[in-house]
């Protein structure tokens, strides 16, 4: 027994003595060079702007931005009704001019929505579940889910009657309107029937080539009672209205004048709200913007792009970056051109500010917005050198070695650097924080 004890003591001693050599560090003592800069400036981030100001500005920008998005989505709904009529006055023989106008309205409505994406993952209104949807899904899934299963949408339209295409039925995809032909699998992710990309698919159609956007033709919407065109019109009308309804739900939660608002309590719980803000920023940068949206870098899949039907993906990246810039700087340019100017994360960033500012500008400005018109052709906008000037699907199909792809890779590096910096900023400011991902 005595012998055994001695061995134990020596063993314990050896294990302890060895720890230093093993280089084990706790989380606080990271050797990350990105983090080290932050620690250095920790003492210097005193600022006249308070955390309260930052939380206030975040909530104000959210409300203003979602308000703009509701307005632009309403414009889209109006343009779609001009194209195919209302439920009372159906247009059986719609025009190309109005179809093009509806497509333009979709393109025009995207920037304000894309800027709101930065408010995701922060336990805010956009992350809530909506019970009307079966299977239950987050409201964001109903607004902007991707990728869209086009064949599922086509199958529903083909296999049901026009009168069955009601709001409730389109939302409740598991029972009323889907048939065994369409649905073999219960999944909120797969059974996407509504939102921006469903509308995009209805307007542009499937995109399988590099020449232009999707292959939808006007005649897909032309036809009287009992035709598939009639059902397509009904479906598009319903999902255009649902988009406005769902965005309105989110906006109203940020509207301090509405009884259901969360804005007032959000502003009064500064520390909890700041944690939510950082959690959201880190998740969106690290997991969504910096990862999922850039999956094409490894997949090399030509249509692995967020707005694949319209070919509008460069705008997705541009305005997602703008959304980050808004929250970071605490500023927002409203649709009517006026500028909101408040406090942002910038005021807490200390020595990391210049890295974040440089990188966030790069993530936006590397995308040259030169795709326009109803069929999203490249226009003559001159693009600065070093920016992505070609169409997005062409960039992907050109493969991983192309110079345009290397620009995209540099964007990913910048976003992931921002994600790491944001985590450090949170830590430096004593904000209880753990970087979540989707």
């Amino acid at each position: 027994m005595y012998w055994n004890k001695k061995i134990i003591i020596i063993l314990t001693f050896v294990i302890c003595g060895n720890c230093e050599n093993m280089g084990i560090k706790d989380e606080k003592k990271s050797n990350n060079p990105l983090l080290a800069v932050g620690y250095f400036f920790l003492a210097n981030n005193k600022s006249s702007v308070s955390k309260q100001d930052i939380v206030n500005s975040y909530a104000d920008i959210a409300f203003t931005n979602y308000s703009d998005s509701v307005t632009s989505a309403s414009n889209l709904k109006s343009a779609i009704e001009s194209f195919i009529g209302t439920s009372g006055v159906d247009i059986t023989n719609p025009s190309q001019v109005n179809m093009d106008a509806a497509k333009k309205a979709w393109i025009d409505a995207r920037p304000s929505y894309l800027q709101t994406e930065i408010f995701r993952f922060a336990e805010g209104p956009i992350d809530e579940k909506l019970e009307q949807r079966k299977p239950e899904a987050g409201i964001e899934t109903l607004i902007n889910a991707w990728p869209l299963d086009e064949l599922f949408v086509d199958c529903i339209i083909a296999n049901t009657t026009n009168s069955n295409l009601t709001e409730a039925n389109i939302l409740n995809v598991n029972t009323s309107i889907s048939t065994s032909n369409c649905l073999s699998f219960t999944s909120a992710d797969k059974n996407i029937t509504v939102g921006w990309h469903a509308i995009e698919y209805l307007l542009w159609g499937q995109d399988t080539d590099l020449a232009a956007g999707g292959s939808r033709v006007l005649s897909d919407f032309v036809g009287g009672n009992g035709t598939i065109a009639e059902k397509r019109r009904t479906y598009l009308r319903v999902i255009a209205k649902l988009l406005v309804d769902h965005l309105t739900l989110v906006r109203d939660k940020w509207d301090p004048s509405k009884p259901e608002n969360i804005a007032i309590s959000f502003k009064s719980n500064v520390n909890a709200s700041l944690t939510k803000i950082f959690t959201g920023l880190a998740a969106f940068t690290k997991s969504e913007w910096g990862a999922q949206r850039l999956n094409m870098i490894t997949s090399n899949d030509q249509e692995d792009e967020h707005s694949c039907f319209s070919d509008n993906t460069k705008a997705d990246f541009y305005y997602d970056a703008q959304g980050f810039i808004n929250v970071y700087n605490g500023t927002y340019k409203k649709s009517n051109g006026t500028i909101y100017s408040g406090a942002g994360i910038k005021n807490l960033a200390g020595g990391l500010d210049s890295s974040i500012t440089t990188n966030m500008s790069l993530t936006r400005d590397n995308f040259c917005l030169n795709v326009s018109g109803a069929n999203m052709a490249l226009d003559s906008t001159s693009c600065a050198s070093g920016t992505i000037s070609g169409k997005f699907d062409q960039l992907v199909s050109n493969g991983t070695a192309s110079s345009q792809m290397s620009i995209l890779k540099s964007v990913q590096t910048a976003v992931i650097t921002i994600a790491a910096n944001i985590q450090t900023v949170a830590k430096n400011n004593g904000i209880s924080f753990s970087a979540p991902t989707e």
Binding site: G17, E27, F185, T298, C308, T413, P436
Partner: protein, 498 residues
Amino acid sequence: MVLVSVHRLSKGMKMKIYLIGLISLIGISCNAFRNPQDKSSINKLMLAFTLSNKSFQLDNEELSGGDTTVFDTTSQAFQRSAQNMTDVDRLVLFARGHAVFNVTWLSPGNSANPGLGPTFNAISCNGCHSLDGRGKAVEGSVQASLLYRLSIPGIDSTTKGPLDVPNFGGQFNPNAITGVQSEGTVTLSYAEVGGTFPDGETYSLRKPTYTIALNGAIGAQPSNILVSPRIAQQNYGLGLLEAISDEVILSYVDEDDKNGDGISGKANYVYDSVDGKTKLGRFGWKANQPSINQQNQAAFLGDIGITSPLFLSENCPGYQASGNCGLSANTGKGTGQAEISQASIDALNLYMRTIAVPGRRNWTDQVVKKGKTLMMSIGCTSCHLERLQTGNFTGIVEVSNQTIYPYTDLLLHDMGSELADNRPDFLADGREWRTAPLWGIGLVRTVNGHDNLLHDGRARGFTEAILWHGGEAEKSREKFKNLSKSDRESLIKFLESL
């Protein structure tokens, strides 16, 4: 040479050098303890700990995954990059792998991410390993994260593994893309079976029944079909387990129980599809996969129906080849092209190999420490080995040369008739299962909202999981049952701290 200059070094450095000398000496003794023939020595050692009332606490044991360990107690705890992954280029690769993990796959014919099916279990990795976590067993017919391996008696001539069921293959796929027949239906039901601890406390276990009805339109269900239910496991720490050398794992093998401690420890040797050779198996419930690379690509094919560079042919056995595969061919990738690129597989492999292991909570708590001592003293750690050392993993510096606390030996053990699936899998017989790693397991409830444990998720929490242990673990289980209620609770507190 070093010793010559000892007098010129600082006191601390001198101490270190002396320690190196000591380590060399002790190393010999340690190796003796690792040898299964000397397991009795380990038992003596443990007895010594108990009698001397010392704690089993090891320095840094809270760093379950060594330098990769991250302390996060939120629902995101299983998705963090290794703590020692700090270079932004590595973080970018990690992010790319995470994106692949989350991709939603769609039916062929869609514009984006086509290739799902023709038959499948899920449409994304995350669909079963939710938040890189553990699947849940659900009574009824919807089995989101529980899959079923199928076979008939016999051995495959190429792989030496299980023999596929004609027309259905080696895995049951209850879902199918539009226009394709699914492979059938399955129903899970539970019967409560009561029991009593010696101290009078009662418990109830749920005994599962699986009813599989294969689709007769595809083929007949063989009367001798073998079915093995398996739940999705957590994904962290896999690179560390892969970085443990074969030699270290094999040093714990005691297949014929030569040391007479009742614990065997058997290595599974499995087919490596990369080079067609036989390799030590270390992943999966029966250690039937030799590498993360193969595990990932096999899961893409078997679970989602995505062809990959390693498995280029769709999963369309027998009858299904005529109809199902035709419908899944239109992926826009061309004949002989994988539906997922090598670059995406590379990114996913890196991701799966470098997810941080969650660090411990409350490891200095007196109750937790007592629970650990009890766990060791009743013999659980004969298989759930506390501490292992990883070797060099070329290209994955984060997981190389780490001291880790995984609580597994990665070997097969007879777990008794109650847990048996009676379906052989390479060298694993119908009663044998791989020792499940226990690191991070206390956070499953936080991440996945449940505490379903064991290979098919039948156990509701740690106590039930222990009570299901039979075979080689029966003695330990009985010792657990005979502990006082407060000691049992201490042991569970320890498991919750992992």
